[in-house]
Point group: none
Chain length 209, copies 4
């Protein structure tokens, strides 16, 4: 049996007090990550900001990486909760509305905590492999592909795997870049959503007439 990786929390923190400690630690880690970046996020500083002794920190997390992993996990959960809901809802929608909703939720998801998202996106590959942003993209891709398959007849594309890759990657990139590096574009988010929707539809749908 595989040994528990060192990025897993040490214990489940059943009692209320422990729960509060754990929350404070993760929250403090996120704040420091945002404020100072990964390299400056020392465990002592995290414990300090969490108002917890360094000893206690190590009672709940076996390493700095484990803490960062917990932050990633929390952030990812928040994003995926939203994305999953929406990508499930669109199952019944016609393509145009479906794509529009998908684009909108991508932007929305990136706006949940953009500063944290940026740090995680930029500095995180170091921590585990499966918890990073890539994993999210893969799930989004899979969900979107499911939708495309259900609408296969209405599409002009044939390789649905490839099409889902193209769409999911582009939507993610547009949302990511707009939210993190081109905030001015979000002043008129509707326009951006419209443009991206037309972009995707021009690819997926057969030409009219």
């Amino acid at each position: 049996m595989a040994r528990k990786p060192l990025t897993n929390p040490r214990k489940e923190a059943s009692q209320a007090r422990s729960r509060a400690t754990v929350d404070a630690l993760v929250e403090a880690t996120a704040r420091i990550l945002v404020r100072d970046g990964f390299d400056k996020a020392s465990t002592n500083r995290i414990a300090d900001m969490a108002g917890v002794s360094i000893g206690s920190l190590y009672q709940y997390y076996p390493s700095k990486e484990a803490l960062v992993a917990a932050v990633i996990d929390r952030h990812n959960r928040q994003i995926m909760r939203r994305v999953r809901t929406v990508l499930t809802e669109i199952a019944s929608l016609p393509i145009e509305s479906a794509v529009r909703r998908a684009v909108a939720v991508a932007i929305e998801a990136h706006r949940i905590d953009p500063r944290l998202h940026r740090v995680l996106a930029e500095q995180i590959p170091r921590v585990g492999q499966l918890q990073n942003v890539e994993a999210l993209n893969r799930e989004g891709y899979a969900l979107f592909r499911g939708y495309l398959e259900s609408r296969r007849g209405e599409l002009r594309v044939t390789d649905l795997g490839l099409a889902a890759f193209v769409c999911a990657t582009s939507i993610e990139a547009l949302a990511h870049t707009a939210v993190l590096y081109h905030t001015e574009m979000l002043l008129d988010a509707e326009a951006l959503i419209e443009e991206a929707t037309r972009f995707i539809l021009g690819y997926l749908q057969p030409p009219p007439g």
Copy 2:
């Protein structure tokens, strides 16, 4: 006058011997970055791998960041040399060929040194702002926008700034993701290029008929 940023090299290597030292340092930095990542790239390790004393390292570069900046610079130069050439050549091509070439060169550029590219893309923000990947993307965007403007009459899109953003961001993301995270897609690179080309064209061109 602004203080010299600590990411600039310290002195020019004039003699042949010192030129070799500097080259060895940059090369060693790139190798270690690829092999071990930014955090493990200590100046001592770099000097060691370059077969140069730590003192020599600091004679040419004032910090680890300066070395990384030099690597980024070298890599960016390589990429942009290629990209610039191609995006200039396409000026005379019809849209379809132009887009196909643009997609192809994006992939090609990411394949120059994918492992290095990945490290740089993921860990750059710490070093200067102007030499990171964003700057590249902006230049690609500007070049592509110039092309679109020269073909304005043949396009269905009206906001060319927005359109260039959408295209450049997507092309870059597709190339980036395919090269770095989905190498299996490159087994049939032609197919990918074709798909992406159709994708972009479906957006830019008015529907046929």
Copy 3:
């Protein structure tokens, strides 16, 4: 608000164990300063001699300078405790006894730890400004001036500020030089004290008759 100077200790040692650590560090610094001089006093050596890890050293003092400042502080406190007491006591004494006591305490003060005193006197300027030997001299000067003012009627000197400067500077210099560079003079310390006393009195007092 002014930034905390780097010569202040980092945190107060509260528990008994840490108090011992801090003491050991200051003591070790003093010893090395005496034995090897400022330049050879590396933090590693200090930690080593204190029997403390280098990490602990930096938990309490942010730099070598801070440690030296602590040594200076401790030494100055010892000296001034003695000097202040005596210069307060002499208030009620007639001039001759007062001067004799002042001279004696100056020598005494320099003998508290002459070798340390010498190093500090010679190498202090680098550390803070306010804790160096000058500050001490100024306090001695002020105290002595106070005494002169209370005896103004019995003196032949008129500019008491100048007179205090002359006396305090000379007494300090005689004590300093004798203790640090002419130890043979201290074989008959009484004679030196007598001579210096006559020296000062010849200046302060009106000629007899």
Copy 4:
């Protein structure tokens, strides 16, 4: 036979060009000592400021200490040339004028290059033992003692060695402190000289009447 100490210059620099190099080196050392202090005076910086290659520096001086020693030496020579002249001239003067001239020359000597004097006084004991400021004081003491002996009959003091020590030490300290730490006193240097003269005379001379 004793090996040449490492604080002696390496060769005598006979030719004019060598002479210029040596001068530039000593001058640069003095400047950096004044501007940055002993610790910041690296040989590379010195060579740089002297406009000489580091290799050449080591052709003339075997170590950093040797350079500093040369600076001390040059400074001391300047001071002693002046002091010696004056203390020789006073041989024929009556006590009062003699003391006044001695005090005046002490101040004058300290004003030759006060900033350099301060650095040397404060940070130099590290270099050789005989070249430091103490050596100067000793010579001043000896000269003054010679004068006292020639006037033995006119003095009330009996232990001339002790008296010379007391006078020389005090005069030096007053000049030193006034010049380096109480420049405001030099606004009326005459007053200071007068006061110090009365001070010394009150001690040396028998009471009038």
